[in-house]
């Protein structure tokens, strides 16, 4: 019953996004009087160079649609929910929630550090979980960081990258934002592992898991200051695409 409710919700989001994703051409349509620009790429960029900003993006039409969908989803649904949450919750409790959620997700940091054979970091993650769950009262506080054990974030996208998997085509996921084929695979794998073998399996209560998932979504959005079309650049999509790709390369190299 509950699962079907979740399913309906997902279907709704999916349908809504499809509405925006009518795969249009990404090349501008010329009119009868089209004349070339004075300044053109061919004259300014040496032939044969591939620049960082030219990220492999074969389904750009879809991606731009998803980007646009996310702008509206943020504006009319996601951000209003986040503001209500911030209005109701005192900042102090918001921080406790963030800390609690981070602690629960140490599960993914643990598995992925282990999969990458980063034993020291795996150890730190395990110790953090132990300290924060006990001394930090179920993760509401984060004394481990104060004691010099910093969070060792790793996800399955990074693990794949670590073993040489390339980023694949760029993808903008509805609601979740910029990604690529490798990282989306990672995202799904992490989510499945988390729900099958992680804390939700230990708790084994659909209501709790659903509430936790919703809270996580709100908390995560709250902590990301990014606003679609907040940069004031017409090239925001290009810039985000490049920065996302670069950022992931660095995270994988680390």
């Amino acid at each position: 019953m509950r699962l079907s409710c979740k399913f309906k919700m997902m279907l709704f989001v999916l349908l809504l996004s499809v509405f925006f994703l009518s795969g249009c051409s990404t090349v501008p349509k010329p009119g009868p009087d089209t004349e070339p620009a004075i300044r053109q790429q061919a004259d300014l960029v040496p032939e044969g160079t591939v620049l960082d900003v030219e990220v492999y993006d074969p389904i750009e039409g879809f991606n731009r649609g998803a980007y646009r969908f996310n702008y509206y989803f943020d504006k009319f649904i996601f951000l209003p929910i986040v503001s209500v949450y911030q209005f109701i919750m005192p900042d102090y409790f918001e921080d406790r929630v963030s800390s609690f959620i981070d602690n629960v997700y140490e599960f993914n940091n643990f598995t992925n550090n282990l999969l990458q054979l980063k034993f020291k970091r795996t150890g730190i993650t395990l110790a953090r979980f132990a300290v924060n769950t006990t001394v930090g009262v179920a993760g509401l506080w984060d004394p481990a960081t104060k004691w010099g054990m910093r969070r060792q974030t790793e996800d399955f996208g990074q693990t794949l990258g670590h073993y040489g998997v390339g980023h694949g085509p760029f993808l903008v996921l509805p609601v979740l934002g910029p990604s690529n084929l490798r990282d989306t695979t990672g995202l799904v794998t992490d989510a499945v592992a988390f729900s099958l073998a992680g804390p939700p399996a230990w708790v084994d209560d659909d209501d709790v898991t659903l509430a936790f998932t919703a809270l996580t979504a709100v908390d995560r959005r709250k902590r990301i200051p990014f606003r679609y079309y907040g940069t004031g650049s017409p090239f925001e999509y290009e810039q985000i695409r490049m920065l996302y790709t670069k950022k992931r390369e660095l995270e994988i190299a680390d």
Partner: protein, 428 residues
Amino acid sequence: MRRWLAIIVLSLLLGLPAAAIAVDKPYFYPYVNPLEATVMELPPYYNADTPDKVPTKTFKVKPFPDRQIPKVFWYEDGLVCSLTYQKQEAPLIFVIAGTGARHNSPKMVNMQKALYQAGYHVISITSPTHMNFIVNASSTMTPGNLREDAKDLYQVMQLAMAKVGDDIKVSSYHLTGYSLGGIQSAFVSMLDEEKKVFDFERVLLINPPVNLYTSVNILDAMLENIPGGVNNFDAWFDNVMKKLAAAEKQMGYFELNGDYIYKAYKRFPPREDFLAALVGVSFRTDSASMIFASDVMKGGGFITPTDVKMTNSTALTPYYLVANRTSFEDYFRQHFVPFFQKSDPSLTEEKMIKMLSLRSIEPYLKSANKIGLLGNEDDIILAPGEIGYLEQLFGDRAKIFPTGGHCGNMNHQDVVDFMVGFFAGQEG
């Protein structure tokens, strides 16, 4: 000893922070190198003591309600401005943002806080070089022509007052702006002498260029600090990201705030050429957006083909690459001058360069006692001799700080004190 005790007791009694009492502390700015002063964020200790949050709301104005906005700008719907308001009657200050900046950029928000605290309403206006302004509020859609931009700004100010005038009680009007917004304030003020809609009482130009053309070329030239030029940007950027990651690793953490940057700066002093390149990149990024917006709004021909339909899913990468390889000089020669020549064939490049200068309105600036200047001796956008020119032009009405770079010290306590004092009518 006894004097200190007296000060402490006095400050406790009066409920004043001790800092407010130490009046005659000389101006000190932690970054001596002008490029560092411009780029680096001020450590919080030096920042003006202002409220964390001030009552502010945003609103939109549409000077051209019938304008057909191309679909590629599907997210554009009116020029967004913000109003910071007092509950009681108060004077209002219009603030014009610098090149490429929005009404809510960090510098603008700092101004809002400082001026609100000093008892003013503030209306913050996005720079005419910003896409949001070009698309919605520019009559020529070709930013940079100071006289035309001033007309657009004046129009926006009137529409803004029409929109929020009923919510606030205004006793008088002032005007200010920083960087490009500074020189624009001078031209808006001159227009106001003729139209008298606001009859500004005081106008403060903060770190304005003397000549827009000269200053922009100085900024553009900083890109030459990328070894191999713009086409080698990727290698340079990779290097920057790697250095940042290395610094993060060594420091053990990363935070984007003044304290962290200052600490990182102390440990890994950045090289001069790197800082200059950073200023150049930041400027070029803003100007690329401006050039694209201007060209598309006018039907293309400069960096986009003419008569094409761009939609909300058009791939813009080719134009992004071209825009990033287009200097202000290119914009000026191939787009700006030809456009204005259409309505006035007698205009030459030389004539236009002269028009982009405070020198072109020198008699007005000399005689207008309401206008003051806030500058820095080491402002990186000024050519040799220009700071001297400003001092001589404004005389007693010029306040020049010895360091601070270009707009680096705008939130320094001493600078904020001067600004607030200026609008209150105190002499520097």
